[in-house]
Symmetry: C2
Subunit: 714 residues, 2 copies
């Protein structure tokens, strides 16, 4: 890619960003868009739909930037939870790392690269290949490479220091949050799977007997889990019908309520829609009651068991319960409204198989995904494209078209294909039999991350450099050399990829899809957003995307430092936009307590190791074997650092220590309104689907009460 | 190696075995040898030295075989502990595996191999190379290889089934032992390291405060650990002197007590030895008291903390205690008389560094050990030897010499060099800062095992086959082919190695070294074994040796089944001999509760995987790529099986489940003599070195009382 193609891409993306930002600044103030741009505030009742409109609203303003900037960290935590805080810390961490890296890269490494003459690219500045700015341009055996060598050491040191600092800071916040939290049901509860129910007994009795026997002083209550997915879908149907009914009752006049009961509502007898819906609702309710009564027997050998203290729950969680380790398997309970299990597996062996199946499908998907990657790489190679489609030759030779195709299109296509991955991974993770939406999302996050790294980084790098060799990983000795040849060659592609990331951030702000849906809803059905639902933040798709940029920044830091300013812009934009979105748009549905940070840490360590491996190869290729040898200790030191961090911080994210638990329990006892809480606790994990429902009668269970709210769909 | 060389080796070893067995059968009945051949029974007071001698004792008898055979498993467990039981289960498991393997190998695979014509070895039977009996002799591409293919699958299935059965059987025994055991101090106690002592406070206070605060209902007492190695050596000196003094007082007349106080006791003034020793003892005692009083302040930030129930101890053990996971690190306490720490490290970071150092030294040792391996391989290649030492040519051409040198000498040298490894590994493991002798031994066991596998198996295999390439492990794709070429070629060497194992077992029975020491002691110093100490079983050197034979058997099962009968003889001999030794010779000093079995399991799985990898290579080399491909699922299935076993059984060996702990605690409470036990418990972990000692005064702390006994030296 030449410089001008990159500039084209920058131009297109800058234009799009500017457009989105301007549109956002205007549209967010217009009446009717409030459920698109501040649904959270509406849901919390802090903002109301206003109908008046004045011309001043059409002027773009940037007050939202100031508001997003000014919110403090504690405000963010209290409003959006620890997960949102962790998410923003990724941006802060990246900004710190790449500011320092950027200064070193742009002011020290870039000039050295440019001064080299290895590539002997004599074209004028505009047509210069981007490779002139990369390490490939430094002369072989040049002593200047020792500066790159030092930069690798210094940069690794800085990243490790910042990682250590962040891990420590985040764990202290986690502990602080724990101390300041109200007593929450999931802190007192564990999930028990694989309960061995003896013949002639019920799961209910078995659980009660077991915990009364072995945890007599701490056991409080339990709720056996029941397979209620059919019931759940009936309830969903009923609720939809009920809402329709309410709308009809309120707003539509009797004349409009007539409806034909035949095909498409056009033929057949005329009936009153109100009557029709009410009859249907009645039917569903009957089904519901029947299903509920039959379900009471359909127990799954798994239960939520609650204890009278956090420490009591932690004891039961940490000690192996039964003699057979594959029975009475305990894990932390999710928050009650986070419980969601399309494919909950209650036995050890089923879960194990589910995990294996998920791994196999993941591998298959990874291989299938090579097809779009190959297409993208075809676009980046114009000659290839001309060979495939000779009739396009005349168009492709036009300068603008070729610049758009090589500069912008490939990364756009990749971004689009990638957006299909998170839902698939969510489905795969839910197959693994997790009990809660948050754990499904956490597991999907890892899957999406490694999928991205493998399919975007490695597949592009290895296919782009002419020889597409997956089996390079069977010859570990060759890896550094092959990566050192291939990775710098793809620098320009990844710079363009980062630039496309800008538009992604801007479109996150603009929320195109939700905007269009909202517009369509208002114009067509005239509905006034009474039944809108504020979205929750898709950590599983956002975190991997950002971590992939971190990986790009770290690996290309000393290969092609030109990428760093573009990355810095991305992280600055992201910092403001995501802060705004977390405060105004997304409602936190659950909180993992910062468990996502372990993934950030691991990914950063992986990126550092990748950088070291490439450095070993590069110095070898550049005929500086001494530097290549001296880099060798660096990956080992990084691994040692990682091992230390794992031991120093990781246990804190897995549970809470006795010190915290006991202190917090005492606080509760001293405050002394625990008996009310215990009352709530014993009912917290009852399946909402099993509660009596009454839509047609007078009493209506409000569908927004968190305990009764249907679980979010995948 | 040709058949006759193997027969020479078999002859020599059979001769030695016969000699040792005969000598044992005679000598064990002779007076004076009782402390060599039944020290355990003497120590337990079941046998006494007898002085009468009659001629019938000189007739070799085999009554000991019957006795060893007849002892039941429960008897073995009650007499020698679960570790001895596990040790004998290795023999039973191996006998089962190789009986089935032997039938398949000798009656199906061996004839097929011999019928092949690949090697076209036309020499007569006696001079036939052993390779004619190995898979190398089967014709390339022959369909008979499918029988080998099936054998690999069937054998893997059988081994896995037996592994599963053994793991289950052993864990049930472990639980049964736990239920039938008396309350033992180490079941109620944990070791806490890295105690953060605040300035101005002592470790003693900190521990008490912490556990009273966070485990108020279960905490009983604690003993802070003190660095007492100097004290310990003073006590050892004092005890030696005290014994000498006692001997002098009892047995030597006053005239003999005169001694010159100058050089070598020959020059200078004459003094009474009794006086001299008494004065020295007095000096040491003074030193002791001073050291004891100064030590009371020298606390190490680590302590044994005891609880009033097993469940209480398990709670404290399993839950992270402090906010900083590198502080208040808990681990199970060893038995009180097992406590032994030449290099105890109390902080997390020191221990981490100790581990790293141990790994580095281990790697260095492994590389250094290649020198004796190279010598051994030189011996196996006579031509090489003639080249190095031309003057030996005339001797080396003699048939007997060459057969001894190629058949017997290499394995003897290896066995000798290997015997130096366990003490070194014990030293390395103790550097890692374990608190107890049993854990040092367990860690050394793993080290010795992998050292043996690497240095005896891989180094021999790869150097013997002309190309010595450690870096094969950097090209994983090549591994199967290289191993498939190299491993069958070394079959004869390993058959000879197994045969040398017979002599090892026989010499274990004969106890040559102890016999000579005993003889020397009785002849020279006339001492009558009053102060002999019964040895404890060296699991760390014996288990790896046996597991290495298991590895050889599994890998060579379908390559060169000729090895199996020799292995079966080895395991039969070992079963009887080690049973006899465990019952009569070795005193169990501690019990890990069968934790060694995990190593046996892992090593067997590793051996299976190695067999599969070699099979993939062999079928490739033999031009049967289809079979090579169909073997591929086998290692994956084995890994899955291993993963399942890890989850199903491993947790049981790491601790006991709540179910067992609570039941056992209730039993104790019902039996109701716990208050005495608690009294004992609070004092159980006091450092014996810190107790008041009085050698010169009237009261003497018996040195054989277990609590006061000096810890066994490494």
């Amino acid at each position: 890619m030449i410089l001008s193609a990159l500039l084209t891409s920058v131009g297109i993306n800058l234009g799009l960003c500017f457009l989105f930002f301007t549109l956002y600044s205007i549209l967010r103030k217009l009446p009717g868009n409030i459920t698109v741009y501040a649904p959270r505030l509406v849901a919390e009742g802090k903002l109301h739909q206003e109908d008046h409109f004045n011309l001043a609203q059409l002027l773009p303003t940037s007050s939202w930037v100031k508001k997003a900037w000014e919110a403090s960290e504690d405000e963010l935590i209290s409003k959006s939870g620890l997960d949102a805080f962790i998410f923003m810390r990724i941006f802060i961490f990246s900004l710190r790392v790449f500011s320092i890296g950027g200064i070193v890269g742009i002011f020290i490494l870039l000039p050295i690269n440019y001064m080299g003459s290895q590539l002997s690219d004599d074209s004028d500045f505009q047509n210069k290949s981007l490779e002139s700015f990369s390490i490939s341009n430094v002369d072989n055996g040049s002593n200047r490479l020792w500066i790159h060598f030092c930069a690798a050491y210094v940069f690794t040191g800085i990243v490790c220091y910042l990682l250590y600092y962040e891990y420590g800071y985040i764990s202290s916040k986690r502990i602080a949050c724990f101390f300041s939290s109200e007593p929450l049901p999931h802190q007192f509860t564990i999930l028990v799977r694989s309960i061995p129910v003896p013949p002639g007994s019920t799961c209910n009795e078995t659980v009660e007997q077991f915990f009364k026997e072995y945890h007599p002083s701490t056991y409080l209550s339990h709720s056996v889990i029941r397979r209620s997915s059919k019931l759940q879908s009936l309830i969903n149907d009923a609720e939809k019908l009920y809402k329709k009914l309410a709308t009809i009752k309120d707003k539509i006049e009797t004349s409009q309520r007539q409806w034909c009961d035949g095909c498409l509502g056009l033929f057949g007898h005329k009936v009153d829609r109100l009557d029709l819906y009410e009859r249907r609702l009645q039917d569903i309710e009957d089904d519901l009651r029947m299903e509920q009564s039959s379900l009471s027997g359909k127990e799954v050998p798994a239960a939520f068991v609650s204890f009278n203290s956090r420490f009591g729950a932690a004891i039961a969680l940490n000690i192996q319960e039964g003699i057979n380790p594959t029975e009475w398997i305990t894990e932390r309970a999710p928050e009650p409204h986070d419980v969601h299990w399309p494919f909950f597996t209650e036995t050890f062996i089923k879960r194990w198989i589910g995990k294996l199946v998920a791994i196999v499908v993941c591998v298959a998907l990874t291989i299938l995904f090579l097809i779009p990657v190959a297409i993208v790489q075809g676009l980046a190679n114009l000659e290839q494209l001309e060979l495939w489609f000779p009739f396009l030759k005349s168009i492709l030779t036009m300068a603008v078209v070729s610049q758009v195709i090589t500069g912008y299109l490939p990364s756009l296509i990749l971004h689009l294909f990638l957006s299909a991955v998170p839902p698939v991974m969510i489905m795969l993770s839910s197959l693994q039999g997790y009990i809660s939406w948050s754990r499904i999302q956490k597991s999907a996050c890892s899957k999406v991350l490694w999928f991205t790294i493998w399919n975007i980084f490695f597949a592009n790098v290895l296919s782009g450099s002419a020889f597409y060799r997956v089996n390079v990983f069977l010859e570990p000795k060759q890896i550094p050399t092959i990566l050192a040849e291939a990775v710098p060659a793809q620098a320009s592609f990844f710079i363009a990829y980062v630039v496309t990331g800008w538009t992604n951030v801007a479109s996150e702000l603009f929320q195109l899809l939700r905007f269009i849906c909202n517009l369509k809803g208002r114009i067509c059905s005239g509905n006034r957003d009474d039944d809108f639902e504020a979205p929750s933040f898709p950590y599983h798709s956002e975190i991997p995307g950002i971590l992939f940029f971190v990986l790009l920044g770290i690996t290309y830091f000393f290969l092609a430092p030109l990428i760093l300013p573009f990355l810095l812009v991305y992280f600055c934009l992201g910092y403001i936009v995501y802060r705004n979105q977390l405060l105004n748009v997304y409602v936190p549905k659950y909180d993992t307590g910062g468990e996502f940070w372990a993934k950030v840490h691991n990914c950063t360590i992986f990126s550092l190791m990748l950088m070291h491996i490439i450095a070993i190869g590069i110095f070898g290729l550049k005929k500086l074997p001494l530097a290549s040898g001296f880099i060798l200790p660096l990956p080992f030191l990084t691994l040692l650092f990682n091992d230390y961090c794992r031991k120093r911080f990781f246990p804190l994210f897995h549970g809470f220590p006795a010190e915290c638990l006991v202190k917090r329990d005492r606080q509760d006892q001293n405050e002394g309104h625990m008996s009310e809480f215990y009352d709530k606790l014993t009912r917290a994990y009852d399946d909402p689907a099993m509660m009596p429902k009454n839509y047609t009668g007078g009493r209506n269970n409000s569908p927004t009460s968190p305990l009764l709210q249907p679980c979010p769909d995948v």
